[in-house]
């Protein structure tokens, strides 16, 4: 049976993990490769690296990181952040990334999704969508949720699917950072109206939130950062809990 995926997300700046990571057993808390290897060993199903660097050398630094992760890690990983062209994607895949995620650049130029999926195949193109509710309507936002667009979440998600995205990573800005649970109503609607996998993101605070996003939110995967990095939730315990709740997981 296809299992639900647990996906830790690592924020990367200039080749290093940023935001606090509280792993006492890490020799170097800023080393994404070492952190990734630990997650792979403890049962993470997949990893996401989100690059937030803004330097001239960012492309090369990220390519080197991807290569080092691919050397060490035997589970799939996705790379996102600042990807805006076929060439960007080519470099990342060549260096060993399994999937890439695009966000703002797809909103600015939706044809990018068609170009990427026809060149590399839908299966490696994830479109990340950040949205929050304005007067009861889910509106797509850019720049980490700061800038609203004109796009309705559900319309944009359907367009993204039609253009050839293989998967959607939906982050609710209303839920992100609250530790109050995922945006399950919107997730369930996405999962029902679309026929590609949906990754839930934003709001994970405890293990029950993961149960809820798989059951009520009908999500195919759930992404979180701080609850894993600060060891508030251990992946083995989380998977045990999900299994006891009747949710298929890889153990």
């Amino acid at each position: 049976m296809l299992t639900k995926r647990i996906v830790p997300c690592l924020d990367i700046k200039n080749g290093r993990t940023v935001k606090g990571v509280n792993f006492v057993d890490l020799r170097d808390a800023g080393d994404p490769v070492e952190l990734a290897a630990i997650y792979a060993k403890t049962g993470a199903d997949e990893l996401v690296f989100l690059d937030i660097s803004a330097t001239e050398e960012r492309r090369k630094t990220l390519a080197d990181l991807v290569r080092n992760v691919a050397k060490e890690v035997n589970i799939p990983f996705t790379v996102g952040g600042g990807i805006s062209s076929v060439e960007d994607v080519d470099i990342l895949l060549q260096n060993g990334a399994d999937k890439v995620s695009v966000n703002s650049s797809a909103v600015k130029r939706p044809e990018l999704i068609n170009e990427l999926s026809s060149k590399f195949g839908s299966q490696c193109i994830t479109v990340a969508i950040d949205a929050k509710q304005i007067d009861g309507e889910w509106i797509v936002h850019l720049v980490g949720g700061k800038v609203p667009t004109e796009l309705n979440l559900f319309d944009w998600a359907k367009e993204v699917e039609q253009r050839g995205a293989g998967e959607i990573l939906f982050t609710s800005m209303d839920n992100d950072g609250t530790k109050d649970g995922f945006a399950n109503k919107a997730l369930a609607r996405l999962s029902t109206e679309l026929n590609i996998p949906i990754i839930a993101s934003g709001g994970a605070g405890n293990m029950q939130h993961f149960v809820d996003t798989f059951k009520e939110g009908k999500a195919d995967a759930a992404l979180a950062a701080s609850v894993f990095h600060f060891k508030e939730i251990g992946i083995p315990e989380l998977k045990e809990k999900l299994k006891n709740e009747g949710i298929p997981v890889r153990l």
Binding site: M1, L2, T3, K4, R5, A40, D45, E46, R67, A70, K71, N74, I75, P76, L93, Q94, N95, G96, A97, D98, K99, S118, K119, F120, G121, S122, Q123, C124, G166, E167, N195, I196, P197, D220, A221, R250
Partner: protein, 197 residues
């Protein structure tokens, strides 16, 4: 042992090279006919879209070479699909090594299938030491139905082939290089095939 990964410009092939290195072997990427012919083991990878991958194979003449290889050959993901008679993706004629036609999943399930599913009903040395119902990583929209050459199956709306074998030719729909310890065991079995059989 000389391991060659066929390099025909199809997607992420570093991962398979790195996985082989983690097992303590070296592999070279090559599109050279003689180098491929003289390898002890050949890996035929594939990520991307079927018709464009097949075109690249034809341009390099490798479509003629692969079916004539005598050493163990392992097709992975799209590589396995291209070793079949045909695939619905881009209405593409394959290499005809496996006597089966690849078709698309119906919309009864989410397509592509992305993630970890289970394998069972092993009929090959490839799975020696692998527990039934082990988890492997898959990402695909098209599948090979169960046929005479099926050596392992998985359920996703239908019961389908997650691995095929005919003589020296092997194919896995899943990515052994991304399937954690289970995948490494299967890859290691392939590299040791002459010792197992």
């Amino acid at each position: 042992m000389k391991i060659v990964i066929i390099n025909y410009g199809a997607g992420n092939i570093q991962s398979i090279k790195f996985a082989i290195e983690r097992l303590g072997y070296q592999a070279v990427l090559s599109d050279n006919v003689d180098e491929i012919k003289n390898a002890d083991k050949v890996i035929f990878p594939g990520v991307g879209e079927a018709s464009s991958a097949m075109n690249k194979l034809r341009e390099s003449g490798l479509d003629k070479l692969v079916p004539t290889l005598k050493q163990p050959v392992l097709g992975i993901c799209l590589g396995m699909q291209l070793m079949c008679n045909s695939t619905e993706e881009g209405d593409t004629k394959g290499l005809g090594i496996f006597d089966v036609d690849v078709v698309r999943f119906t919309n009864e399930v989410k397509v592509p299938q992305i993630g970890w599913n289970q394998i069972r009903d092993f009929k090959s040395h490839l799975f020696e030491g692998v527990t039934n119902e082990s988890y492997i990583y898959l990402v695909h929209s098209f599948y090979a139905p169960v046929c005479n050459e099926t050596i392992c199956v998985t359920d996703y709306g239908v019961n389908y082939s997650t691995a095929l074998q005919k003589n020296n030719f092997y194919g896995t729909q899943f990515h052994p290089e991304k399937s954690s310890d289970v995948g490494e065991k299967i890859l290691s079995n392939f590299l040791k095939l002459d010792l197992l059989s």
